[in-house]
């Protein structure tokens, strides 16, 4: 048998004056390797008051983003064995207001996402009868962008987003912004760039790549942001 010790951030604003860390232990067979989410579900059997979000349990819905041993990630696709420690510290995603325990208020994150108009804009007066066709080369430009599941692991690991969550779009929003900027079917490129060309929305990214380090889908928001900066700068000079 092996034993894991969990230290989990607990805060219920109805009961607690301040957040605190609570210790739990979990024993399992040596051959067993659970995901962090499975461990949390077992801990919730011990203590039903423990609150966290989860849904698909396979890294698709992005509900269970949390800070695991200091690094943001999805609990459902993080093996306990990958943490290389029998002591596991779990906190909510940093920088966002905590609703309860590991559940954060994602409103600011979604407001930034809404700001970049995350939908195709096409002012073609005569839309095609069936669908807007795209060459395989143009379609390939969307790879590495459309896969984002909006789990917020990247944006909440970004100091620029921590300091200005109301003004800096953040890596997730900017990855989506570039997904539409580079889409051959979208005709609102200039308007989108106009909206981003202030001192905060894009240019607060200083390229420290925390977002790339934590993205559970292996995406590269810093690269996408670099492309947006290049598009903005090529208009400016």
């Amino acid at each position: 048998m092996k034993k894991y010790t969990f230290s989990i951030y607990r805060y219920n604003p109805d009961v607690d004056n301040a957040p605190h860390m609570k210790e739990y232990t979990l024993e399992m067979e040596d051959s067993q390797d659970l995901m962090v989410l499975e461990a949390l579900i077992k801990l919730k059997e011990q203590d039903p008051s423990l609150a966290f979000r989860r849904s698909c349990r396979e890294g698709v819905c992005g509900s269970d983003g949390m800070n695991i041993n200091g690094k943001n990630g999805l609990a459902c696709i993080t093996h306990l064995s990958s943490l290389k420690s029998d002591k596991i510290v779990i906190r909510p995603l940093p920088g966002l207001p905590v609703i309860r325990d590991l559940i954060v208020d994602m409103s600011q994150f979604y407001q930034q996402y809404e700001k970049i108009k995350p939908y195709l804009i096409n002012d073609d007066k005569t839309p095609p009868a069936r669908e807007r066709l795209q060459s395989p080369e143009d379609r390939a430009k969307l790879d590495g962008l459309y896969e984002c599941i909006l789990c917020a692991c990247c944006s909440t690991s970004c100091p620029s987003f921590w300091w200005n969550p109301d003004k800096f779009v953040g890596p997730a929003g900017l990855l989506h912004a570039y997904r539409f900027l580079i889409d051959s079917r979208d005709t609102a490129t200039d308007e989108r760039l106009d909206e981003l060309d202030d001192a905060f929305s894009v240019f607060r990214c200083h390229g420290i790549m925390n977002c790339v380090n934590v993205c559970p889908k292996g995406l590269n928001p810093t690269k996408a942001i670099g492309h947006i900066k290049s598009m903005l700068l090529s208009r400016a000079v």
């Binding site: 200005n164 909206e195 060309d197 202030d198 001192a199 905060f200 240019f203 607060r204």
Partner: protein, 115 residues
């Protein structure tokens, strides 16, 4: 779009370009001064004032001081809008640094004027 009146540039991309252009000028000036000190074993008053008597050196120095002003202005604005949340304190910090940077620039101008 987020408006940001207290920064130096007209837009995010303008700030970005100003920061990098001013950094290039400061690096060139630093390299020139390092080269000057390395190649001049005995820096006397005559050698020093002779260097700054050249019109190109005055222009180069004022370009470097202008770069310090622009780079510092944008930099302090960026850092203070990241870390200082109280708007009154942030305005005070920006005022102190901006006035200080302008004072450095003016001091350079009047010193060079007299050489």
């Amino acid at each position: 779009m987020v408006t940001a009146a207290a920064t130096f540039g007209r837009s995010g991309s303008h700030d970005f370009i100003l920061l990098r252009a001013s950094a290039i000028v400061m690096v060139l000036y630093s390299l020139f001064m390092a080269g000057f000190f390395l190649s001049t074993p005995d820096v006397t008053y005559q050698v020093w004032s002779g260097l700054f008597a050249n019109i190109w050196m005055k222009v180069f120095t004022m370009l470097a001081l202008s770069s310090v002003l622009i780079h510092g202005w944008i930099g302090i604005w960026q850092v203070s809008t990241d870390y200082v949340k109280a708007s009154g304190l942030r305005a005070f910090i920006q005022l102190v640094f901006s006035v200080g940077l302008i004072a450095v620039w003016l001091t350079g101008l009047f010193v060079l004027w007299g050489v």
